[in-house]
Each structure stands twice: as C-alpha cells, then as structure tokens.
Symmetry: C2
Subunit: 455 residues, 2 copies
C-alpha cells in the first residue's frame, strides 16, 4: 500500500488540492487519442515549485509514480498513468512571472497556455511563435518538443526554450540554461529536458525566447496539378532563401473537407497555404517571388493579401482543419499520424501513404508542415467498428516504418508517449539504450512518467 | 603499465599511425592558450569508424584515457591529455561523405575543416555558416558547441548539427538524430553530444544543415560616440526584425589596433560592423533601415556596400582582428575571455570590464558578437612576466563571475575545457552534478577526455 501511504501524505500537503473524486480521475485518465482510459490514483494541483518538490519527495519515498499534466492535448497519451500513481496537474501554476522586452524573453510557469501567453504579450510588440494548433500548456509543449505551422521560420520548442527549472526524481531542484542567447558551458541540460516527456523530472518554470511581431504579413493560397509539383515549389523557395513563416500543404481530400466545412471556394486539388513576415516591402516581394516559383510549377495563380481579415480567414481554414476533416465523415473519431522525412523524400512519402490509405477501408485526408517535411494523415474511423481502429493502427505503423526507411523520424512533433515506443528501437538502435541509461541515472526507481519513452 | 599494454595493442592496430615521437607528442601536448603543455603518451590517427571503435575497445580494456583532437584551435585546452593516454587525431578522417543539395544537408567525417567543407560546397550554391574565426575541424566545432560571427542569423553548432555517429566509451557505435528537420522521438542525444567536449564519446561522422548562399549581401560600418548607443541600436534592430547576418562590435582600443594593422581610416571610437543577406532589394532596404536606426543614436553615417570587394575588405578587418590586436603590443601573448550575457546587460558588462582592464597593468581590447550578447577581451600579456599572466587570469575570472551575476554564462562559445571548470558549480548549481551523473552512466571508468567539464 505504498501508493496509499503517499496519497495520505500528499493529502496532508495539498489538502483539497489533492483530488480523488471519480470525475477528476476520469478527466485525467483519458487522452485525445485512441488509447484505453487509465485513471490515476489521485490528481495533485500544486501551486508552487516548493509544493512540487515536497510532492516529489513524498512520492519518491513511497515509490508512487508521478505523471505531469498540462492542458491534456497530447495526441500520444503522454499523460496516462499507466502504472497508477499521481497525475500532477499544473493548471494552478499558470502565471507569467516576468516579461523582459529588452531581452525578448519571458519566464512562465508551466501551466500557462500559449494563447494566454500571447494575450499577455499583446502590448509588448512581442509574441511566442510556436503553434501546435491546440491551445496547449507551455510546460507540456516543452516536454513533448512541440512545433507546428511556424516552425519553418521560428523553430520548435527545442529552439525556443532558453532555460528551465526542473524538480528531479529525487526532489532536487535544478535550473538549466541561462538567459544568455547561447552558451558552451557543458552538457545542454535544457535540450535534454525538452522532449523528455516528464520521464526525467517535472518542469516548474520555463524561460522562453520571444520574437518581434512582424511589421507586416502577407499570406496566400494556390492549387497544384499534383503533390510533387507543390513539394518541388517549396524546395525551390527554401533554396532561394525566401523566408516563409508558414508553409502548409493540404491534399485533395483535405481541400474538399475545407470547402465543405467553410464554404470557401477551393479546387479539388492539392494546395499550399503560405505566409511571409517582414516589412511591408519585403512581404510583398516575397509573395511575388513565390508567385513566380509556383507558376513555374503549373499552380493556379497565387492569391495573396497583406490585409489582416483575409489572412485571418486563410488561417482559420487551416486551424479548423482537424475539425473540417473530422466533419467529413459523420460520427468519426480520428487517429492522427505524424511522419517527418527529409524534404527530398516528402513527395514519395505522401504518395505511398495516399496509396496505402486508398487501398484501406478508412479515409485519411493529409495535411502537413511541408517546409519541415512533416505531415499528418487524419485517419477517420467509426468508433463502433473495432476493425477500423485496427486498420488505422496498421496504417499508422506502416507510416512510421516508412518514415524511418526514408531517413526520417517516426514522430515529427507529437512525441513518443504510448504510441511510438514500438518504433524507438528501429529509429535509435543502441541509442535507445543510451536514453535508458540516462533515465536510470536520474530516476533509478523509474517513478517519473513510467511506461513512456525509454526501454 | 596498463597504458603501456594499451599502446602496444594500438600499435598493432594502427601500425605507423600510432605516433610516439617526441615531436608528435609535443605537437599534441600544447594548446592555443596559456595552459601548461601536457604531451600525451601517444597520438593515434584512425582512418575509419571501425578503427576508432577498435581503439576505444582497447583503451577501455586497459584503462587508457582517450582525448579527441581536431585542428587544435581550442582556446580552453580541450585537447590536453591531462591524465595521459592517447590523443585521437582525426586529421585522416577528413572526407566529405555525401552532399544532398535537395535536402540542404551534408554528411562529413569529423576531421573536415569548415573552410574545406565550404570549398567543396562551392558549386552547389550552398554553404555551412558557422564561423568561429579559426579554420577549426567540424568535429571539434560540434564538440565545443562553437559559434561565431554568423550565429545571430544561422545559430550555433547546436542548431546546425542534425545527427552524429558516436563511438561511446564502451565501444558501442550509435547514430543520433535523423535527416528529418525535426523530431519528437525521445531524448535529444545529438544535442547532448554537441558541446560534450569528447567526455561522452568520440564523434566519427556528422550530418550538418546547409544554407543557401544568399543571392545578395550588403555590409557596412559606422562609429558611435559611446558603446551604450551602439548596443541600443543593435537591440532596436533586432526588435524590429531586421535580419542581420553578422553584427560585430569593436571598442576604441580594438578600432585603433585595426587602423594600425590595416591602414584603413577608422575613428578612435566604438564601431559596429554589420552584414545583411537576402535579395538585392532586401539587403539594400535592410541597410537603409539600419542606417536610420544608427543615425538616431548619433552614429557616424553608416557606410555600406553590396559590392563583393568592399565587403571582403570589411570582414578581412574583422577576421584579422585577433592578429591586429596581438600586434598592438609587441611580443605579447593573448588570454582571450568569453562572456555572454542577456543583451540588456551587455553595455553594463562591457563597461565594467573596460573599467577593470583600465585599472590593471595589461591592455585588453574588446570585440564581440553583439547580437548574441557575447564578447571577448583579448588580454595582452608579456610572456616573460608571470605577474601579467596572473593578472590576466584574475581579470578573466572576474569576467566569468560578472557574466553569471548578470544572468549569463561563463563561456559563450569557447567551452569549458581546462579554463572554465572552476565556474561550473556557480553557473549550474546541482545541474553540474546531473552532468556528472550522465557522465558516470555513459563513461563509468572516466576514460573519455578525463579532467574536463564534469565534477
């Protein structure tokens, strides 16, 4: 009953902020994806680093697993307490601690969501660019190395976390990184923690890079005769050094779903949606140069605008993409895949994936962050047909294998969690054992998010 | 005599490529800096990953220390075999293995120098941007997390190494990373290895990001009434999102040295040297917008050009900076410092450092990568006066302490090596112990570059 002993001590520590009601446990026992529900034994709502430290010491003493929880938007079941224990919900640690406009950085607690941060930054002329779509918590985004539509310009969480405060498995509190823009002072512990999915510690503070809100923005859309032409146009744009802030691909099936969902006129064809950030002159030039490139590849005329309302309409289309695709099959649930490959292999990867999906019983529109070589198939399954879930998992596994065969990764931005552990050996070889050695060195009892990421 | 046993076995493995002559040992027993010479017991010249693996297995069996060696340009004594053993010189592993223009990446052996790589890339329209000044080896640059003049635009080695092949302390060979532009598949082992200074393994292959040679470049120079104005102008330029490819600061003492060395007319004042990359239109706009900003801060007119020969003359000035400063005191040797702070603290850091130097017996012109908050004082000492070396070390230590007090790092780009170990506890607190735990997990016998980086 060691977990029970831990819960009693945690209850003394946190009072009502240790929740054990069925509704709380259920809420923190399910994920956005297809993994079976697994309610934890309790949900803790710490309010400070000191409380997290005390919590970790109690759990360490009594061998009670600890699983971090941000906004619950993970697509790979990162927050599921598969070995029981306590889910540590950071929603009470949601303060923006300090904005430093001169240094273009900010220190936040892990429960702050990216939208809340950008709301807070509005008056500063700065913004935090990483945009995974969902309004995820910044702690969760750091821990899963999130990225999204703006990564082609602004990077992933790896590039935008300058430092962290982390409570380790034995209760030590460390600070990683500094506020300097770079450092050569030893192992990059910040980089090690980003993407560690809560298996090495619980993050209690983050210092993030900010970027200046661009003076001007242009955005536009065009259709292509085939996907290969779209990908080639993107490659040429990158090689010419035209700085895209967003470059999104949607296939014909997704374009149809967008059209049906939004009423916007769209050809039944692959499309690119693109955005440029800069000065009024530069964003116009970038758009015009891009228009020339896509015309060379047989695209429809690149319709672009630097007017805010047109830009918003375009990205509302993309941001509602998941819902538009979901609505294209009535009553469906989604299994979302996450391949990322070298860009020279992207067209092949998409084509082979489309062929797989066409030969299967489940529809799977494709959309992706083409500048990064990253795309998602949204496999639409009937939740009442177990065979469809099995088929979707089979397709998803084939995509992960294909990504590796093409020199890429089984997960571009969703993380390992529950869903990609089976591919870690194939992707990393003995490097996966090295991850296990690091885990064993820092969490010898295996209490931090057990059952995830490492062997 | 376990090292002796190892050397016998290495001699059988490598034949004449295990060198033991006094001249070879001396050549690999000294550094570019003030650290006492420490010749190794032997120098190995492996020609393949397999040979490195065999070498590591022999050394592991016989407890023989192993120290990697690239071009020997480290400023912190990284290559000194302070506990004896074998220096592993990678100069025979100097092939560019594969250039992939479509993916804008390249795989190289660790002994390739950055200049050799860029020579090889000349016909492709691509280049490798990280430029620490010295013609360092790419393996050494990765292992010290090198950066330099272009980091403000293109990042450090951390941002430009996509993956590595590494021989670990027990002889396992792992591949880290993939050729995909991003990944969320587990701990970032590439990021852990970059900056690890050979203490976790020997790198035998690197895959690097390449960038398109800009269509056009503009570059220019201007003088300021004081250093604070120069720094403020840089901060405004960054906040406005004007993309600088290089932004270098030199103080009055450095400007005098430049003038004397090159004959170029330069005011006795702080200067900024800046470069923009882009299209012909954008680099002209960027230069004009920058000219407006610096004029607002009382600078001399920003003289800029997009002509290649003028640009080359400007950067030859900067690249010869070290020699120009060295020539400013006859017969002097240099102790080079490496502070990096949040940019809002940069003016204060430079001012206090200048005051320290002015109050000391040694001259120390200052120059730096102002966009990163990183600067170097080149402390000029008479090698025949031990008191001057002691004074230079005292100044250097004060600068490291000052960097930490201002929220920065004791080493922006030169690494820990021999010179910064004393500041690791102050910079990382218990995080330094975490580095030690990782080291112990992966190299329990402590044979990989012992005496460096970890406690």
């Amino acid at each position: 009953m060691s977990v029970q002993t831990a819960l009693d001590a945690l209850s003394s520590l946190l009072g009502e902020r240790l929740a054990r009601s069925k509704s709380e446990l259920d809420l923190h026992g399910r994920s956005e994806s297809y993994f079976p529900a697994r309610p934890p034994d309790a949900v803790a709502y710490p309010a400070s680093t000191e409380e997290v430290q005390a919590l970790v010491r109690i759990c360490a003493e009594h061998d009670c697993p600890m699983v971090g929880w941000g906004a619950g938007t993970s697509l790979e079941g990162h927050g599921l307490a598969v070995r029981g224990g306590v889910v540590v919900d950071f929603s009470r640690m949601n303060r923006v601690l300090e904005v430093r406009p001169a240094d273009m950085d900010v220190t936040v607690q892990p429960g702050v969501t990216r939208e809340a941060l950008n709301e807070e930054l509005r008056a500063t002329g700065l913004f935090f660019p990483v945009d995974p779509g969902a309004n995820a918590s910044l702690g969760g985004m750091a821990m899963t190395r999130a990225s999204g539509t703006t990564t082609v310009r602004y990077g992933t969480m790896r590039d935008n976390v300058l430092g962290m405060q982390v409570v380790l498995a034995d209760g030590r509190v460390i600070r990683t990184g500094t506020r300097a823009r770079k450092s050569a002072a030893g192992y990059d512990l910040t980089g090690l923690m980003v993407g560690s999915e809560g298996t090495l510690g619980l993050v209690t503070e983050l210092t993030l890079r900010l970027h200046g809100v661009p003076e001007a923005t242009s955005a536009g859309i065009c259709a292509f005769g085939d996907m290969q032409s779209a990908v080639t146009a993107v490659m040429e744009t990158i090689q010419m050094g035209i700085p895209m802030a967003r470059i999104e691909f949607v296939d014909s099936a997704t374009a149809r779903a967008f059209k049906d969902y939004s009423g916007m006129a769209m050809a039944d064809a692959p499309h690119l949606l693109v955005e440029f950030h800069g000065s009024p002159e530069s964003v116009a030039q970038d758009a015009e140069r891009f228009a020339e490139i896509v015309a060379d590849h047989g695209a429809s005329p690149f319709r672009w605008s630097s007017r805010e309302e047109e830009r918003r309409a375009l990205w509302a289309l993309r941001h509602n993409g998941y819902y538009a695709v979901l609505a294209s099959r009535k009553g469906a649930r989604a299994v979302v895949t996450d391949m990322c490959v070298p860009i020279s292999k992207l067209a092949q990867a998409v084509e082979e994936t489309q062929a797989d999906i066409a030969a299967s019983m489940v529809p799977g529109p494709i959309l992706g962050h083409v500048g990064d070589g990253n795309f998602h198939a949204i496999l639409l399954i009937d939740p009442d047909q177990p065979a469809e879930l099995e088929e979707a998992k089979r397709l998803s596994d084939r995509m992960a294998e294909r990504a590796l065969a093409l020199g890429g990764t089984c997960t571009g931005e969703h993380g390992v969690g529950m869903g990609k552990t089976a591919f870690m050996r194939a992707e990393h070889g003995e490097g996966w054992d090295v991850m296990g050695q690091i885990k064993a060195a820092l969490d010898p009892k295996g209490l931090m998010n057990p059952g995830k990421l490492v062997p």
